[in-house]
Symmetry: D2
Subunit: 410 residues, 4 copies
């Protein structure tokens, strides 16, 4: 299956975090044809926050099987988790590379108008309400194509492919690290398509990636009839609303750029009942990991203070996170050289406005003495990431394969 066909197949079957069952089964099927050492279940399932429940997994398992995935593989992946690691050994000694390809899609409803190419060309999402709106479909295709090229083993060292679930929300990398997937790695590179870089242009690394912490806070109070006994209630929604204002009111830091957001809030019930339950999700970010950690503590303090004021309980869970990332100069040079050799335009660094938990892999590799970078290939996106009209120019796909191939072949 060629790059474009592969990408479109994945695009049409978008699966959210940890539910990438069809995608992982597809990856497995391709990898099994290569001289690769394959590891499934490459993640520590215990302690993953907000891991999908059985019903959600069963739903996507059914969809996967219905759309052609191997039932046995899907069943095993449902049990073990969707992370897959494959290692190809080169014909001569050398460094161990790890390359990260993320697989998850987003809870976004894909645009259906013909001006949106996937709709016009017939590979729009067939799973309504979900969409590959961040380019991970392309990442999967690139990873598999690269593995195919490297099957000749004509390189030094080893190349380990990390097919990662749940990049969105920042939970997959941490769980894979818990399974030791970068043990022994000397060089790490993540690849991302898009990011507002011109189509086909390579950025050897990025700056400004945000360290981030995602949180969920559940306020639990006491319901009561809002007319007959309002004083008997303990108002979870008032606490949550106070927290929303408090979180947004946290100070800017002069030491590093920061962000805060409360993305969702839900207090269900009845118009005439004092709300006993309210749940919000929020995030802190900073270009600096330590500042993000401090900001995260302040967010929690706001949540606790708001709960105390209303006499309700609050349960705060860190549901994900990632760190900042300094790309290593030596690796930047190597990527630039690889781009040059393969004839693709390249810049040394590209400013990134968001977060990616590939930073956790990078940090781990750097801590064990290795080098890391985060390489971008521009995708000429017609709409921003996470938007219903997001798309990637497919001409970017072979560029990414070329450059990564040149990089690891050295």
């Amino acid at each position: 299956m060629d790059l474009v066909t592969l990408r479109r197949d994945v695009h049409a079957h978008p699966e959210p975090a940890f539910c990438e069952l069809r995608t992982a089964a597809l990856v497995l099927a391709h990898l099994r044809e290569l001289p690769a050492e394959i590891r499934t279940g490459a993640l520590a399932l215990d302690g993953i926050p907000a891991y999908p429940d059985e019903a959600a997994l069963a739903r996507f398992a059914g969809l996967a099987i219905d759309s052609g995935a191997d039932a046995g593989d899907v069943t095993a992946l449902t049990r073990e988790g969707t992370a897959i690691v494959a290692e190809l050994a080169g014909s001569r000694p050398g460094p161990t590379w790890a390359l990260r390809f993320d697989m998850d899609a987003l809870p976004v409803t894909e645009a259906g108008e013909s001006r949106h190419l996937p709709a016009a060309e017939g590979f729009r999402s067939s799973y309504e309400g979900f969409m590959h709106a961040c380019g991970h479909d392309g990442h999967v295709a690139i990873g598999l194509a690269l593995a195919g090229r490297l099957a000749d083993r004509d390189f030094a060292g080893k190349v380990r492919f990390l097919f990662q679930p749940a990049e969105e929300g920042g939970r997959g990398a941490r769980a894979m690290l818990g399974a030791g997937v970068v043990d022994g790695v000397d060089r790490f590179a993540a690849l991302h398509l898009g990011l507002d870089l011109p189509a086909g242009t390579v950025a050897a690394g990025i700056t400004g990636i945000f360290a981030t912490t995602k949180m969920r806070a559940r306020f639990t109070g006491v319901a009561s009839h809002a007319a007959a006994a309002p004083q008997d209630g303990r108002n979870a929604l008032l606490a949550a609303a106070t927290a929303v204002l408090g979180i947004h009111g946290l100070p800017r830091f002069s030491t590093a750029d920061t962000r805060v957001n409360v993305g969702t809030l839900r207090a269900e019930g009845n118009v005439n009942i004092v709300p006993a339950l309210a749940e919000l999700t929020c995030e802190a970010r900073s270009r600096d990991g330590a500042v993000n950690a401090e900001l995260t503590e302040r967010v929690k303090q706001v949540l606790r203070g708001a709960a105390l004021a209303q006499g309700v309980e609050v349960d705060i869970e860190e549901t994900g996170g990632s760190t900042s990332l300094d790309c290593d100069g030596e690796l930047l040079d190597a990527v630039l050289e690889a781009a040059s050799r393969t004839g693709h335009p390249a810049v040394r660094l590209h400013q990134m406005g968001g977060s990616d938990d590939a930073s956790l892999f990078a940090e781990a590799v750097q801590r064990q003495g290795g080098l890391a970078t985060y390489t971008v290939v521009g995708g000429g996106n017609p709409a921003p990431h996470h938007n219903p009209y997001f798309d990637v120019d497919e001409a970017a796909l072979p560029v990414a394969v070329d450059v990564l191939e040149a990089l690891v072949r050295g």
Copy 2:
């Protein structure tokens, strides 16, 4: 079908506001056996706020037919609405009575433990997530039993039965008034079971009923990536949270007891997106109708101010409401006398902590020169109204039928 059997049948099939299709079909079936003039579609469908959509109606229509309702009736009721009016003419001239019996259930999941009598005795809700948690199941049974007794026409004047949808949320009475259902009425009585009165005790009327306005506010802003471009967002959730605090902070009135509540709030999206949509439901109340009107205006002003501050739009809809109610002394005397004649203990007035849109019928009747009251029969409730463990002592059912019968027979 006896009172208890009837009540339990209704209890087991709880239908929410305007979806009372099985209940109304049951009412119709019973009424058709009586010498009554029956009117279906007795409500003005235009302009009912948040009227259920076709999918919701279809769902409950299906359930109704599956559980034995006449398919033709259900189809007609789906089209015309669930309000039913029936009038019995007495054998001699006299006043026209209107008696209100509400039929709707609540979106509450009924308790399943055996300490909850409906669960123990096998008539717990078969529509999961819905429950007759306010006694309307008993009201329906009482209304039908009373109609049966009065089929002898041995009374003066006329008795009109108002089987009302959507009392909860305060939308049904207004819509029925729009269809002229109290035209020509001289005496109005609503009946309610429970309200923390001792089981079997009659209260001839109530005091302290709240006038109320229910509102829904939809804030519409602009989404943006919370890290890459927070300044491009217009934060609907921040506006809503500010409004929650502002509404609860509205002043107490020295002129009349008031209440405010924000019962629900929902801002969906993603943790890393500035929320573009937030919707809340809220209510104002006062023992005094004019104060409720002023408080309602202030709630709206808070909503508008919060929207202005965040640069978002707000759309405010009044989704329901009812007024206060002064029971007429002459009618209170008559109920007390009826209770005395039938040997049931009675008090003149009972303090009510909530609202009921029967007040709109009462107001309309009083305005045309008639008399009105709101009579309560204690139900020995083991748990508060709207609670998953709410229940009514069935011994209260015949008490209510006795007293109303004695009342209209004079």
Copy 3:
């Protein structure tokens, strides 16, 4: 000195809470001419919140001496406090009465236009920024006139006069109780002029007086430059603002009418400094003492939660308070009879919209088995209490003396 002259003299020299030095010296001078047992320093000075500092006392001592008060008395009163108790023994055995007359003025600037009678007649406040805007000037005159009349000792029992400082803000009565001023008292009556009752009409007692708690909260954070290091600040003003919203958002109680208010807030500093200090004053009230106590706790919880959220300290002080009051029927009868005997129109009960710490005296007397009431004499006020145009019809003064005299003479 006649009633009107006395009242005008006091009116022209208004002294705020605990600074009533000239007033107390005047009271002393009058009482010394009577066969009364006089007690000065009749209050427990320790632990009075926000007691005036030496500078404030010295300022009003100077003013008092300059305007004719005895320097020795003023010096002693400055040291001992301004509460004065005087007891007259009747010629025959009987109950011990205590009558409360409060002496303090308010920090209000008195109107100067000729439509304001004190200005037109030349007895407007000579202490700019302070004003007898609640009728206590009349109370002092009434108390002294009554003592003069009772100097004949032609009554049964004893009559104890409580000349009280600091009624406004609710601190004087508590401090006098700490000095045992109602020990042995069988009957207690407070007197108040005005309260929107028609001039000269007597109300034997009141209903609806609010129990109240006055609080001061000081938030202490950390200052920092708002541009150079906002993250180093801990924002006391943000905490205080959050508390303002939280306090106003506390629930209405269905069990008793309540009130909350934040009356003042002050955060000084510079526009470019994160505020390290913010101080607010607030109050809770309820018609029911226990509800007021619970509401007070909730106010404190809001203050603590707001502080926690911002990482600042909060110091909460109860600066005053009073309780609710149920007037005893027997005493109401006695006042009505006294009014009848002296030919003044009277009503049994008058609704009061505020608080008075005379309630603490009343509560103490009732607890020791005695009776209490709070009697009002209408003053035909041309403007509300605490308003710069407040005044009392002086025709009300002799009415009050008559009725109290008749009451204690029996």
Copy 4:
């Protein structure tokens, strides 16, 4: 008078914004001994926000005269304002320089312990509550010393000295620009001591200066008794508190670093009165002038929304402001060269964390085709700017004079 004596004299007599009467008289006295063209009243007095009232000016005029200033000069300066411009013409043609020296002190109470050098050496502030806590005392001394050195006229072009009032709060430069003080200027340099640079080190220019807008908002509502008629009030404090939270909750911008602060809030009144008045001061900042302008608009929108929600009026006044500043490379080179020639260590750029309305002069000069910079000389500050322990190492004073002299002599 030598540099240190001069600086200490100014330090001991700190005068706040637009009240720099003694300082300006001192400046005048020194300048009059030089061959300079002197202009007093060099500012447009009309429309200066929050200009001191007559009482404040009279107070500082009195203090100035009492401490030795010429009464005639003080009287004239009181009338004309305290800005002074002096121009020295060089002996040969060349560019016109303008150098800015600001003169105002801060409302800070200076530390009195001996560890604070001004206290130990006897030149602590003699105007209690005011302090030169930002180094402007040194600026004045440096300006006068430099003028003295340049009195030989051995330089090309002209040097214009701008002795500026009211730098703090950002009002002086705008008012001087209104009087045309940089007309014809080719080169502009402001000088600042301190800013956490090592003592004696020169920074040729700065980066990161914030554009800023200072605002005052006055909320006007309606007072009412908080117990008797809370509903009649329109709560200005609730509006202000809501605005405080709203302002702090404004989004971070991804396009430029921003700051917001509410520095002060004052709602006076009584604990039992619904506050009718509340006043706050706040500021917006950004490294980018356009972003600051947008942020300022959003602050105003929050203020207006908060007012609307509470039904109160809000009056918003911009009380000051300044812009961002890009130092010109050519001038940076010139300063570096001047430092090198005079043997002082220098860096090209220093990061500045605050604002200075010298940016308005710079902008005006750049707009007319000239060059501008903002030069810093490190002062080894033992405490941050605006702190009661702030001080400047006096060894920095001659460094500044040397470098500026070398700069303008070329």
